[in-house]
Symmetry: C2
């Protein structure tokens, strides 16, 4: 049975909510007085339909139905949840929430996306305020899990329970903010950084681009997986969180920001932080936390490397500088791969996943392609090789951090056809796997087979001739 939500306000945030609900199978009714709302929603939905399903290794539920309502009253009729994402003006939000309360079912959750106002503030002067809560999401709402949930003393417990259940079912992380405070938690931190960044730009210390680089090549990567306190817990080392705070305490007295109002580090406050940090991360030793952090960093940085973006672009540039070229000696197999097994290729126990054997052999074929002149610029010119068949034998296991090599023999080179045999070896020369691979030269315009360029064909034949004896022995 489908569930229905009303989205009031279809801007970037409202549109993000709409997409999150719709792609999780909810029916959605949108109300937005902007005549352009439909077009704007389609733009957000197009982004969300591109990105959200890719997060999962199984299919999302069948998309719900989207209706655009002519009035707020029509939109909120009979729904289970109303999400208000109007502009951040107190009077406007008040008027809208009052109308929602008047017309929505009495048991519907009424969430406000406000980044600044407290629930008490939103509820004041409204007759039945008990279903109104703050449900503050983060852009892009269809991807980021965080939702700050805040209630006031007027909200009964069941509203928060209901809200949490719904948000979890949408794949989100409801964070119960226990104290009412302007801007909740995240935006207070963001605002502090924003103010300091404005000073840096104003004083000419750094440009916007330099500030972004200072974030994304450094602490941004740490914060994406651990946040602030767990990161610092590691910095404190075995001496612990108390030691860290005491060590860094003096900096609070220094003019390290333009924002110099600071809390006093009383014994009580130090004790509070240390014990909260124990509760949060105390199940792991510092060394276990370091490994957790490092494995997460490696996995995220490799994800960016595959995108050639941010820190990943720096890795690719460095790899080009240090990679040894593949060498060919007649009568000897070609060493086409030499590397360690990265953490993102392994299961929880550290064994390399079966499918990554294929990755290694595909990389080995790429090395051969570069050797014969079918390199990046050749591919950019519209020609390449496609693999049409592989036969792989899995002989032994290998683990994260293990060194592996691949030795490749050119078994056959004839016209469009290139046949390779790869052997994957461990550091001691033991066999891990083997792969027979048939590649066909193709035109990337027609996506059909085609003869290789003369210089590529000549080089194919040269390698095959140099490997003729090896190939005969291997058949």
């Amino acid at each position: 049975m489908s569930r229905t939500v009303a989205i009031i306000g279809g801007g970037v945030i409202g549109g993000g909510w709409l997409a999150r609900f719709l792609l999780n199978g909810w029916d959605v009714k949108l109300y937005d007085p902007d005549p352009e709302a439909g077009r704007k929603i389609e733009a957000v939905l197009s982004n969300a339909r591109h990105a959200l399903p890719m997060l999962y290794d199984s299919r999302l539920p069948v998309e719900g139905r989207l209706d655009i309502s002519d009035t707020l009253v029509e939109a909120v009729a009979g729904v289970e949840w109303v999400q208000e994402s109007a502009p951040e003006r107190r009077e406007l939000k008040h008027d809208i929430l009052m109308e929602i309360v008047a017309h929505a079912p009495t048991d519907a959750v009424i969430g406000s996306s406000t980044s600044g106002f407290t629930p008490s503030d939103l509820q004041s002067g409204i007759d039945r305020p008990e279903r109104i809560i703050v449900a503050h999401p983060f852009n892009p709402v269809y991807l980021l899990p965080l939702v700050e949930l805040v209630c006031s003393k007027h909200n009964p417990a069941d509203v928060m329970e209901k809200a949490s259940e719904v948000l979890v079912s949408l794949g989100m992380f409801p964070l119960h903010v226990r104290g009412e405070i302007d801007a909740h938690i995240a935006d207070r931190l963001l605002e502090a950084v924003w103010r300091e960044a404005l000073w840096l730009v104003r004083d000419g210390v750094a440009t916007t681009g330099e500030i972004d680089d200072a974030i994304r090549y450094g602490f941004g990567l740490r914060w994406a997986q651990m946040g602030l306190f767990e990161t610092y817990r590691i910095a404190g080392g075995e001496a612990g969180m108390k030691h860290f705070i005491e060590q860094f305490g003096p900096a609070l007295k220094w003019p390290w920001t333009k924002l110099t109002d600071v809390p006093e580090l009383t014994d009580d406050l130090v004790e509070t932080i240390a014990s909260q940090s124990d509760a949060q991360s105390g199940r792991l030793t510092i060394n276990e936390l370091e490994r957790l952090r490092d494995n997460n960093l490696v996995a995220m940085m490799r994800a960016l490397k595959a995108r050639d973006s941010a820190a990943g672009r720096i890795l690719n540039r460095h790899q080009k500088q240090i990679a040894a070229p593949t060498a060919f000696t007649s009568g000897r197999p070609i060493e086409t791969v030499s590397r360690v097994i990265p953490i993102d290729w392994t299961d929880y126990n550290g064994h390399m996943n079966e499918s990554r054997y294929g990755q290694v052999f595909s990389d080995a074929a790429d090395a051969i392609m570069i050797m014969i002149g079918a390199d990046e610029s050749y591919i950019a010119g519209g020609q390449s090789f496609f693999t049409v068949e592989t036969k792989t034998a899995f002989l032994n296991e290998t683990m994260a951090g293990d060194l592996i090599r691949v030795e490749t023999v050119v078994m056959e080179a004839a016209g469009k056809k290139l046949r390779l045999r790869h052997r994957m070896l461990d550091a001691d020369g033991g066999d891990l796997a083997s792969c027979d691979q048939l590649l066909i030269h193709v035109s990337l315009d027609t996506r059909r087979s085609s003869p290789p360029a003369p210089h590529v064909e000549a080089r194919m034949l040269e390698l095959a001739a140099g490997h003729a004896d090896l190939a005969r022995q291997a058949e």
Copy 2:
């Protein structure tokens, strides 16, 4: 020819520098008066040797030689670079830098890891200060690329050029901080967040764990790839950066942080930010930036998903909630995979990489394993199936975002042996690839073949019997 660096101070930061140089092929001489220095360095090196090589798809250079020097004078003799990472006390750093200048080669770069002091401050009172610069890295130094490079008016241009060249060769990102300021750039932002976070804990609004969750499930993921301003540029939408600042300007007047000293948003400042943002990101439209952001987020969140950590753990929990169970009907192939192709499985042009066909077929086999009772708890109990051979035919291409399905036929089930045939289909039922896969039941203790448990064998036989006709047709 090997290059040599002196590491002065072997704590967490000095040790991280040491690992970064050593694993990039430099010889390293360490001086640290702490008698425990050797042991501490081994701990950092063990982490670094685990993590750094996994970032790359080719091998790092051969590790350099590590010597522990008895004196600073011995350590700095004949080196190309000296990195000082002493505790953050001005007099101590002064004394050490003075001794380094007296004994290091006159053309060596002398980098200080100070997070707070300016180069002018470090150089004052030192006779030949022109080789001393700030080179401030971020923990873990062996993984994070950022180094803040700061010079004073005493430094000739060639020191900064030399320093940049070396840092880039180590895979790092040297950020030239153009103005001298206490705490440079990144630590000013960190300090602002730290102060606000301390207030939140002190006032009982949030615990350390809640603050970390507010960061890592929300803006931390954004900052890991874009930073602050580029993220906000997107939030401004087509109306642009100026619009965003004007819209969010009023919040600067509100008590959204405890840190209430704020720069005035003059027309000049707004113009400066808008034009710097254009210079930084103006080559891309807002929609292009949105796609860049979303693709990076998807790739990073999927990397965390594979680690079952941070935001990735939330994804896994949600996927379990929404995944449909695999169903079996006698006489019909089993739908073992139904999903879209994620961005991290594709090349720059969006085509699925060859090796991911193997991933899909490996996932299909996992679905069969679960159906026959060889599930997580069975594997935890020490038994599983290993793939020993696959034969894959690549028939057509598929792209990021495309919906695919796999239909699997159980071709043979006999004792330890399970033979599957998978067909990968596009949304219209067109063939993309096929795979014959031979699996053997194994004991995970001996890593050798063994007979399956009776309930697993019974289920294997049941599926094979139900597929007998399909298998005959397919042979």
